[in-house]
């Protein structure tokens, strides 16, 4: 017995991981052959793995049933499973034990194996207890395409693999759908819009045997294709135009949405599509577009509520990123492992945080997009400004005295200018930048830049403290004493809104709040006697921004330059007693607010000037020229000063108004949210979080992919975000291609080959057609990960071209269409409901890209959101743009979309619900947005040259349903129209109200009623 066991153990060690078919064998349930993956794993997963699974911490009796390693080993005379011998197998004894102390699962768990389950386990052990790796964790292999007996049906390999399953079930494929159905189906599937009746007629009468293929190619080339397929990808990316949570303010990330549309239209290979979105910033010489692509993981929410801990919500965003990465590229639920090792899938607590570490080493800046249109407009305005500036001297008031007008004007200008220079020089302070030799903070990284300023990067908190030390020797000439300090706050393109502060939520972007400024020498605090600033204003709250706030010992008062983002300002502090420039000066700056608001870039300078010292209104560059005085200036420097003079002198106040107006009109470049890998000297550490709690950090984890994907032949494993991205969409990841083709399959057939889309773990449903899934996955990879080729392949199959009608026979034999013996019929997605009606009514605008737009909806929708947000409906073309351009507000989603199950961008959604509710009926019947379309359809019908009622009814019907109506359908519509017409004529109904026009005939109004009814047909909003 012992020998036997050690033999079997040896067998499993040798062959344990190369075992057996990697996909569940396709066998009838009657064959009696038990499959581990199909039959046993689900039983064990549901009843046993909680205590005998992957999770080490929860494991009981040291027994693990999910892998064969231990199961066949004898321990203290007991062996869990002896293949072929139930009587000697401890687990069988336990699951059938009479004594409740022995029975497994323990009675108190309320998990009880059914007699059928016990019998299945018995059979499995009797048949040799063969384990199989979970199919989804083994790379897909291209299966052999079987022959089939339904001759002449197949159009490509998909059909062979589908037909085999149908044949097993004694099913026959449905006949091919008629051409009207096919063209409407293809349009909806490939571009999400309707064909015109004319296009449909051309197709149905096209005798070219390749008419279908030509149509497919044409649709794949349409720019509308990228718009249609961007939508499900944006569901996965959890795209939204607002930040989420309480305030849910707008954000600018539409450039990412546009990137997705372009990438899909260009048929960017899916592996490249992946790499650019996960780590485009890390590619060598990353292009602007590749940086924009990293918006994928910036679509996480941002909590702007006052008083939050920003790093806590950053952690939740990371949790979301790990979850989305798992869902999109691995089809795996990683969520459980946030808190503890996964009970069912082999992802440990450690694995989870290692995966997070791969994604966690990036900063999250806004990227300025040098939009060409904006650039042009800026250029134009700037040149207008320059011209006006050049004209300023000519507008200077005319002086007294002799000479021509121009001479007197010139004379007065020169005189005023030199007086100004004199005066400004007398108050100009010479500042010497202090260069720090020590920079320290509670968390952000501080570094000195070439100009002596300090730059802050990395994470910030609600209470940041910067400590800088400056050697003072040789700061002043002749060792004269230092009388005052200046703090310049400086803009920088890398900062939010170009700085100078780092605030990125709650307060204004680029804001800072300096609470306290402390100077020390030799441990002694130095006193200041006065403070002044060039500008001061705080955001959020009504407190003042006096310069003296930074030396008042009260952390809740401070200085800020809110409203002047992107501009430099400064603060001057005068010492009570001048200090001798010896040793080191230590400066401590405290930034303490209910939001994170430390400085992003600043410079500290000193002066030894003994007279009055205060903040100047001049920028540093001008100030340094003023200090030098008129005599030492070059011509160009003098010119610079003259411009500065012209820009401030009160004598030109009136003349400058136009310049100031133009400056206000200068358009800002749009920004988009991106990822930026951190510099090597400031990596972000990732901690394991006990029970997944932010407040329970444990050890620092190293980065890596989950161990289940690591094999002896894995080669180099990902160590950073870029390497992860490359691994995710590679042949090394057994799931990427499968998950992707499965999503595509679901889009065309309503259900995936794995029906639990988004979850390919051990608890998932096994695929209905495992060989087809793997064949498609291999084909997808071999075709250079081309989504367009994949889509063409699917729609070219005979399987896709079947009719979707549900006959009585099909209802009995294949009620859920698991065997694909017909095509699918189902309501289209929310956005497509609107888009198809827009296209059918002819209102659709084809304008692409750009900031999101606001189609009409009742103001009460967003009134419910925080701050009683207004919804200013777009006018003109933007009112009728494709639905994916609709402004998406997370806490008050566009009502007509959410009622049709559109997600709100809060989590990654792999599969939308498809509900059928009374609220949808109310929306389609009564929403003003849809009435507009009904009116347009009626107008088109009224414009027809053949004015028979049945002709008009047919026109409306065909614009939406494409196929011609049956006689009885036409009759029903006309009867209805006649009834409404008579009610209109006798004054019971008001034509002007219904048609929404100042002039409208009763007849026109009656067709509005017809159009509205046809828009509400099940078939109208259904792909069949």
């Amino acid at each position: 017995m012992t020998i036997q066991k050690s033999l079997s153990v040896g067998f499993w060690i040798l062959f344990g991981l190369v075992v057996l078919p990697v996909v569940p064998p396709v066998i009838g349930e009657s064959s009696g052959q038990v499959s581990f993956n199909r039959d046993i794993r689900p039983i064990l997963a549901a009843n046993c793995f909680e205590c005998h699974g992957h999770d080490e911490s929860g494991r009981k009796a040291g027994l693990r049933l999910d892998v064969p390693d231990e199961v066949f080993k004898e321990k203290k005379g007991i062996t869990a499973i002896v293949p072929g011998r139930t009587a000697d197998s401890e687990i069988f004894r336990r699951i059938t034990a009479k004594d409740s102390d022995d029975l497994m699962p323990p009675p108190e768990t309320n998990n009880t194996l059914s007699p059928e389950q016990v019998e299945t386990i018995r059979l499995w052990i009797e048949q040799g207890a063969e384990y199989e790796d979970h199919w989804a964790f083994v790379p897909p292999q291209r299966p052999v395409i079987p022959a089939m007996s339904i001759t002449g049906w197949a159009r490509n390999s998909i059909d062979h693999l589908v037909a085999v399953r149908m044949e097993e079930q004694g099913l026959e494929p449905a006949p091919e759908a008629d051409r009207y159905t096919l063209i409407r189906r293809l349009y909806l599937d490939l571009i999400g819009l309707l064909p015109t009746p004319g296009q449909a007629d051309a197709f149905t009468s096209d005798s070219d045997p390749l008419a279908y293929e030509k149509l497919v190619n044409r649709l794949l080339q349409s720019p509308r294709y990228g718009e249609r397929w961007a939508r499900p990808w944006l569901d996965l990316a959890r795209y939204s135009d607002t930040n989420g949570y309480e305030k849910d303010r707008p954000r600018s990330i539409w450039a990412y949405r546009d990137w997705v549309i372009k990438a899909l239209n260009d048929d960017m290979p899916f592996n490249q599509f992946t790499v650019e979105q996960i780590a485009g910033d890390m590619l060598p010489n990353a292009t602007l577009e590749q940086k924009i692509a990293t918006g994928f993981h910036r679509n996480t929410m941002l909590n702007e509520e006052g008083g939050i801990d920003p790093l806590e919500y950053r952690f939740y965003a990371m949790v979301d990123r790990v979850a989305a990465t798992g869902t999109v590229w691995m089809g795996l639920t990683t969520g459980c492992a946030q808190c503890h090792s996964h009970k069912y899938d082999p992802i440990s607590h450690q694995d989870y945080y290692s995966l997070m570490a791969l994604l966690n080493n990036a900063d999250e800046p806004d990227l300025i997009v040098p939009d060409k249109g904006v650039l042009e407009r800026r250029k134009k305005i700037l040149s207008e400004i320059e011209q006006l500036q050049n004209e300023l001297p000519g507008k200077f008031p005319i002086g007294d005295g002799s000479g021509s007008v121009e001479e007197r004007r010139h004379h007065r200008l020169e005189q005023s200018f030199s007086e100004w220079l004199q005066e400004e020089k007398s108050v100009a302070v010479q500042w010497t930048p202090l260069l720090p030799n020590h920079l320290e903070s509670n968390l952000p990284k501080l570094e000195m830049l070439e100009d002596g300023s300090t730059f802050s990067s990395g994470d910030i908190t609600k209470r940041d403290v910067y400590t800088l030390r400056f050697p003072l020797a040789s700061v002043t000439k002749n060792g004269s004493q230092i009388t005052a300090l200046k703090l310049e706050v400086l803009p920088d393109d890398r900062l939010p809104a170009r700085g100078p502060g780092r605030a990125y939520y709650e307060g204004r972007k680029g804001d800072f709040f300096l609470s306290e400024f402390t100077a020390r020498m030799k441990g002694q605090e130095l006193k200041f006697k006065s403070a002044s600033h060039s500008y001061g204003k705080i955001s959020i709250g009504n407190g003042g921004a006096d310069a003296a706030n930074v030396i008042d010992g009260n952390g809740s008062t401070g200085w800020s330059t809110s409203g002047q983002e992107g501009k430099a300002h400064h603060l001057v502090l005068v010492f009570s007693e001048p200090i001798i420039p010896e040793g080191e000066l230590e400066i401590e700056m405290l930034f303490e607010r209910h939001f994170a608001a430390s400085l992003g870039r600043f410079r500290i300078s000193a002066t030894s000037r003994t007279g009055a010292v205060s903040a100047s209104r001049h920028p540093a560059r001008i100030l340094s020229l003023l200090v030098r005085g008129p005599s030492s200036l070059s011509d160009s420097e003098r010119k610079t000063l003259k411009s500065a003079f012209l820009d401030v002198t009160s004598e030109l106040a009136e003349a400058r108004k136009q310049i100031e107006k133009l400056r206000k009109q200068l358009p800002e470049f749009p920004t988009t949210m991106v990822m930026l890998e951190r510099p090597p000297d400031n990596p972000r550490l990732t901690h394991l979080r006990h029970r997944g709690e932010y407040l329970s950090p444990r050890e620092v984890v190293s980065s890596g992919i989950p161990s289940v994907f690591v094999h002896a032949d894995s080669g180099n494993l990902p160590t950073n975000r870029l390497e992860l991205a490359r691994w995710l969409a590679s042949r090394k990841n057994p799931l990427a291609a499968r998950v992707t083709v499965n999503r595509a399959w679901r889009a065309f057939f309503g259900a995936g080959l794995v029906r639990t889309s988004g979850d390919f773990g051990t608890q998932s449903d096994p695929p209905t057609h495992p060989e087809l899934l793997d064949w498609l996955a291999c084909e997808f990879m071999d075709q250079d990960w081309s989504l367009k080729k994949l889509h063409r392949l699917i729609v070219s199959s005979a399987t896709y071209r079947q009719s979707s009608n549900l006959t009585e026979l099909k209802r009995q034999q294949d009620p859920e269409n698991r065997y694909l013996s017909r095509s699918s019929r189902g309501r289209v997605d929310a956005e497509t409901v609107r888009d198809l009606l827009l296209s059918g009514s002819g209102l659709l605008s084809e304008k692409m890209y750009g900031p999101s737009v606001y189609p009409p909806q009742p103001s009460s929708v967003t009134a419910l959101a925080y701050g009683n947000t207004k919804w200013n409906s777009s006018t003109g073309e933007d009112r009728y743009r494709r639905s994916l351009y609709t402004f998406s507000k997370r806490t008050a989603p566009f009502a007509a979309f959410s009622v049709f199950d559109a997600p709100s961008g809060e989590i990654c959604v792999a599969r939308r619900d498809r509900s059928n509710t009374p609220l949808q009926a109310l929306t389609l019947l009564n929403d003003e947005m849809f009435i507009e379309m009904a009116r347009e359809l009626a107008q088109k019908a009224m414009d027809l040259e053949l004015p028979s009622p049945s002709g008009r009814a047919m026109d409306i019907f065909r614009r939406l349903l494409i196929r011609p109506p049956s006689e009885s359908e036409t009759k029903a519509m006309v009867e209805f129209q006649q009834t409404q017409l008579s009610r209109l004529s006798n004054g019971e109904l008001n034509a002007l109200h219904i048609s929404g026009q100042e002039q409208a005939s009763d007849e026109q109004a009656s067709w509005v009623m017809v159009a509205r009814a046809v828009m509400n047909l099940d078939e109208t909003i259904t792909k069949q």
Partner: protein
């Protein structure tokens, strides 16, 4: 052991250990399908997902009116009287107490702020209430006060989401959705989950009534204060009810004709949905018509239909009307309790708007015989600090910051033991020292009153079994159950 023996054994074990009778077994297996099988709700072939379903055990309440005091009322000035705070007022709170706690706005060395109001005992139960709640004082024997609630989050949006969905991150199903999913609706002309709102802005947003990963049929329907109460419940301009009926008849006729051709049962579901939409359209005006409410009733609540200043009182009457019409979960939000500054003035104003109507709701439900099977809950998303909040930058003085460690709620009606005050906090009102009640326990209690075992109301999503009350061990609060 043979299969038969095993079967016997399993059944015996089931009877013995679970202590329930044969009839219940049938019920439980039925529930196995109803409460945990996602396919049930997705399939259009089955009964409508909104029709009533059996519960795990006999419910005490059929419906819930949840008065959500958004912004977090100060328990220290309303329910949890702490004379020690008055004694220590102006002194910093002992560091040993505040150790390790994070706050939204205040610094850890903030001073103590004494109760702003006087307290007295009321009713036969002698419950202690602030002078700001005179009306509640009159019905105090009808409610159970819990002074030892605590929660996990200290910012509004996440904490409000946590109360509603059991998670601070948007995306999970809300209580009302769980109820609609779990036990369906008793109304066929109104939604099963209705949201009403008064006061200021709501931090949690639409995620608070989202159905999350549950079928979206179960999402809450917010009633709008402007325009249609239910979005698009009115016909477009110019379309009267006859024209609407005619239109629906045409739509039905054409849909039926199509059904004959394509055989898709989803078309039947669509026809049903349109009929229910029509019923809603006819029902809504009657629901919103307060003219049948007597002056006595309006005065009891302090309501004044159409006056936005009385929005909360009006909503309380509307809540009762919805309850009468079979709506399962009615959530009445009143926002305006976030008193970071001048907690005293803030409470005066909010209590003036809410105290009378909250108490009136209990009296009114009782006199109509509805209180016995309606669960009424009152509470915010967290409590407020014993420490004072003041800030020059924000212009704040004499306020209180967010405090998740201890706060108070009250419960009344179906399934609740009235006249009880449960729980103790320490002498500063900082931490719970007796009968801690986690927010998940509150949720478990709510489900329990409706006949649902919170551990068995699950939904499988992405390979995980989710439930409202999370994975940790939580329980209904036995002490306040009848």
């Amino acid at each position: 052991m043979s299969i038969e023996q095993l079967q016997q054994r399993t059944r015996r074990h089931f009877f013995k250990d679970c202590g329930i009778g044969v009839g219940r077994i049938a019920l439980a297996s039925l529930l196995g399908n109803t409460l945990t099988d996602p396919s049930r709700a997705f399939s259009a072939n089955n009964e409508s997902p909104s029709s009533p379903h059996p519960t795990h055990f006999a419910p005490k309440a059929k419906r819930v009116i949840y008065l959500f005091m958004a912004g977090a009322p100060s328990q220290l000035d309303l329910f949890d009287y702490k004379p020690k705070l008055a004694e220590l007022e102006g002194k910093p709170i002992p560091p040993s107490v505040i150790q390790g706690q994070r706050y939204a706005f205040i610094q850890p060395d903030a001073a103590v702020l004494g109760p702003r109001f006087s307290f007295s005992r009321h009713g036969a139960s002698g419950a202690e209430l602030s002078e700001m709640l005179p009306h509640l004082g009159k019905v105090v024997d009808e409610i159970a006060i819990v002074r030892s609630v605590h929660t996990d989050l200290f910012n509004h949006s996440p904490a409000q989401l946590f109360v509603n969905t059991g998670s601070g991150i948007p995306g999970r199903p809300s209580m009302g959705s769980w109820l609609s999913y779990g036990i369906g609706s008793e109304a066929n002309d109104l939604p099963s989950f209705v949201v009403l709102k008064s006061g200021g802005s709501l931090s949690g947003g639409a995620a608070m009534w989202s159905s999350g990963f549950l079928p979206s049929t179960h999402q809450g329907v917010p009633f709008r204060s402007q325009g249609d109460p239910i979005l698009h419940v009115s016909n477009p301009k110019g379309v009267d009810m006859q024209a609407q009926r005619d239109s629906l008849d045409l739509i039905r006729r054409l849909n039926r004709e199509r059904l004959e051709v394509v055989g898709d049962p989803e078309i039947n579901a669509r026809i049903e949905a349109y009929e229910m939409a029509y019923r809603m359209q006819t029902r809504a005006p009657e629901l919103m018509d307060f003219s049948r409410e007597s002056k006595g009733t309006l005065d009891l609540y302090g309501a004044e239909p159409g006056n936005p200043k009385q929005a909360f009182a009006n909503n309380c009457i509307l809540a009762r009307r919805l309850a009468e019409r079979g709506v399962r979960f009615i959530q009445v939000y009143h926002s305006g309790w976030d008193h970071h500054s001048n907690v005293e003035g803030g409470l005066r104003s909010q209590c003036a708007q809410t105290d009378q109507a909250s108490a009136a709701l209990i009296l009114d439900l009782k006199q109509r015989g509805l209180l016995e099977d309606t669960l009424v809950i009152w509470g915010g998303e967290f409590g407020r600090t014993p420490m004072v909040e003041s800030s020059v930058a924000l212009g704040r003085t004499l306020g209180r910051d967010h405090h998740p460690q201890a706060f108070s709620m009250w419960f009344s009606g179906g399934g609740i033991r009235s006249g009880v005050t449960l729980g103790q906090t320490d002498e500063l009102g900082f931490h719970v020292v007796e009968n801690p009640v986690h927010m998940h326990d509150v949720q478990a209690t709510l489900l329990h009153c409706l006949g649902i075992d919170h551990t068995r109301l699950n939904f499988r999503f992405r390979g995980l079994n989710f439930r409202l009350t999370g994975v940790e061990d939580h329980h209904p609060v036995k002490e306040i159950l009848a």
